[in-house]
């Protein structure tokens, strides 16, 4: 089912306060034989999530953005040492029904490596999990659109030229992703390798996380409506 599954196993923890949704995801991706994904734990709230993640040290955490008390951002905050771990980092992939810009930007800046909506198909989700496990970033079309919007929206000269601007190439890549291209298709279109696409996206992710342009936050709150 997955192209990336070269006999690889990725250990995953599901964090979501809806049991029905956890069951659904488990059913869709949890068949280790065919997908290479092994669900090693589940959690329904922030405290549980931190405990389970610390105990199991998974490769990837599928994190619901809207958890009671604090939300996904709180989990990210409290797991920060695990994310920063050099040897065996825990990576977070945010999963949500919300398309609100503030939520998306919030979890990304909190340290998540990607953002997908809950409508994503099983195979796509497995793909994204592997990609995140490899340390790459996963951008949905919508997230790409948000980022383009956020970085384009200002005429104010940036404080840090490196962090506050997207390069022409990064912009092109994001634009194609926003148009619904998969990484492979982006690579083909721009005559570059998939690896290069991934590195561009990772660079954008880094900018998104590290740039302290206050416009980013302001933009996100101003765009409450989606």
């Amino acid at each position: 089912m997955t192209p990336a599954a070269e006999e690889r196993r990725v250990r995953v923890v599901l964090v979501d306060d809806h049991r029905m949704f956890r069951t659904g995801v488990q059913a869709e991706i949890g068949d280790t034989e065919s997908t290479g994904v092994e669900v090693v734990g589940e959690a329904a709230d922030v405290d549980q999530a931190v405990t389970v993640v610390t105990a199991t040290r998974p490769d990837v955490v599928l994190l619901d953005v809207h958890l009671p008390i604090g939300g996904g951002v709180e989990v990210l905050k409290r797991c920060a040492p695990l994310i920063a771990d050099a040897d065996q980092p825990v990576r977070f992939l945010a999963l949500s029904v919300s398309d609100a810009a503030e939520d998306v930007i919030g979890v990304i800046r909190g340290g998540a490596r990607g953002y997908v909506t809950k409508t994503i198909t099983g195979p796509d989700l497995v793909n994204s999990i592997f990609r995140v496990a490899d340390g790459d970033a996963v951008f949905s079309p919508r997230l790409a659109g948000f980022v383009l919007d956020a970085f384009a929206s200002s005429e104010v000269s940036p404080a840090d030229e490196d962090l506050d601007r997207l390069t022409q190439r990064e912009r092109e890549v994001l634009r194609l992703i926003a148009r619904g291209y998969a990484y492979k298709e982006v690579a083909k279109q721009l005559f570059i390798s998939v690896k290069t696409v991934e590195s561009h996206v990772s660079a954008v992710l880094r900018k998104l996380q590290l740039s302290n342009r206050h416009e980013l936050t302001r933009w996100a709150t101003a765009r409450r409506l989606v």
């Binding site: 079309p141 790409a144 659109g145 919007d149 929206s153 291209y181 298709e185 083909k188």
Partner: protein, 392 residues
């Protein structure tokens, strides 16, 4: 212009406002007759009765909000009013009763000020006064009380009972304090109960509204989904439409999700995508970057995009349609892609009006450009590009 009486009357009699105003002014010059008439109408006629036409209401509200600092027209009206009162007083000679006129006038004015508060409370409900405006009703109330007090005192003075004034005031004060002591706790409790009740009522109202909405939309859709359980396409369509509507409702309190004609590109694209999605039961994902107001050329581009979406929904298989719109400084770019089998643009028969005319032709006629190509990885992509008009 002072109290909106003329407008109200005009609405009631369905005559132009200016006519009513002229009549008032003319009446005012004849022995100042218009002034008391106006005052009586202002005081007696309840607000909003007699139909201030709806279109005018926002303007009214705005002028009331904009200004405790009365605008120039209001000042003119007030000056006219003062003149009118002057003539009125000049023309009326009550002889011996003259001494009572001023106190009575003061009392009347004070009472009017206090009583008009009720109107303001009602108006506040429509206008949603901002907090700092609270000062004004208070000041007005105080002024009213002061005026009434002065009037009553004046009355007493005129009647020649000045000598007893001190005693009378003392007695009155004692009675007032006594009444306040006895009735105070009840009054306080009553006020608290009242506000609690009001809060409760507001909450209940809110709940009822949410319940009504959920009932009208979500429950309805769920019923429809159950009934269409064996038709996955229809179920998807229903679910998507409901999701969209619910999101719009959640994010836009006050709106009902079915607002008026869109005026900006992003809004219009989303609307169009929603319509196509509803009509064809294929999910249409929209990503918008930037936004700009719609004009004729963009409307044409929107039409072309709609045609492209319809095509993609019809022939693009079940993979869904991805729409991307970006408003740049100089141009607007829209792309529509599907993941269907794709087709050869050259092989499109001339009678397929859809692509040739509605998309490519329409874009060219409006000074834009349309490109049609198969996307890498399968599917078809339509790219629409339109220069933005220089004047915005």
């Amino acid at each position: 212009m002072v109290g909106g009486v003329a407008r109200g009357l005009a609405g009631h009699l369905s005559m132009p406002v200016s006519w009513v105003r002229v009549v008032f002014v003319v009446l005012a010059t004849i022995h100042g007759l218009g002034i008391p008439l106006y005052a009586v109408f202002w005081f007696v006629v309840p607000l909003g009765v007699g139909g201030v036409s709806e279109a005018k209401e926002p303007r009214d509200a705005k002028s009331w909000l904009a200004g405790r600092r009365p605008d120039r027209r209001q000042i003119v009206a007030l000056v006219a009013l003062a003149c009118g009162i002057g003539t009125l007083l000049d023309n009326t000679n009550f002889g011996a009763a003259n001494a009572y006129i001023w106190p009575l006038l003061l009392i009347g004015l004070g009472a009017a000020l206090v009583w008009r508060q009720a109107d303001n409370v009602r108006r506040a409900r429509w206008v949603a006064m901002s907090r700092r405006k609270r000062f004004w009703p208070l000041a007005r109330g105080a002024a009213g009380v002061l005026l009434v007090g002065a009037g009553v005192t004046g009355f007493l003075v005129v009647q020649g009972s000045v000598g007893h004034l001190g005693t009378i005031l003392q007695a009155a004060l004692a009675v007032l304090v006594g009444v306040a002591l006895i009735a105070g706790p009840y009054l306080v409790r009553m006020a608290q109960d009242l506000s609690a009740e009001r809060r409760e009522r507001i909450r209940a109202q809110e709940r009822a509204e949410v319940a009504a909405h959920v009932h009208d939309s979500v429950l309805h859709t769920l019923t429809l989904i159950q009934r269409n359980a064996e038709n996955p396409r229809e179920v998807t369509r229903l679910a998507r439409a409901q999701e969209r509507e619910l999101r719009a409702w959640l994010h836009r309190p006050g709106g009902n999700g079915r607002d008026d004609e869109p005026t900006t590109l992003a809004e219009a694209i989303r609307r169009t995508a929603a319509e196509v999605e509803d009509a064809h039961g294929v999910p249409v994902e929209v990503v918008c970057v930037g936004d700009c107001p719609l004009d004729d050329r963009l409307a044409a581009q929107l039409q072309a995009a709609r045609e492209a979406m319809v095509n993609a929904a019809k022939y693009g298989g079940d993979g869904g349609v991805q729409v991307y719109a970006e408003a740049e400084e100089a141009k607007v770019f829209v792309s529509v892609r599907d993941r269907g089998p794709g087709f050869d643009p050259e092989a499109v028969p001339a009678d397929r009006m859809g692509v040739r005319e509605s998309i490519i032709g329409r874009m060219r006629r409006n000074g834009g450009e349309a490109r049609l190509r198969s996307a890498p990885g399968g599917g078809t992509e339509v790219e629409l590009e339109m220069e933005r008009s220089a004047t915005i």
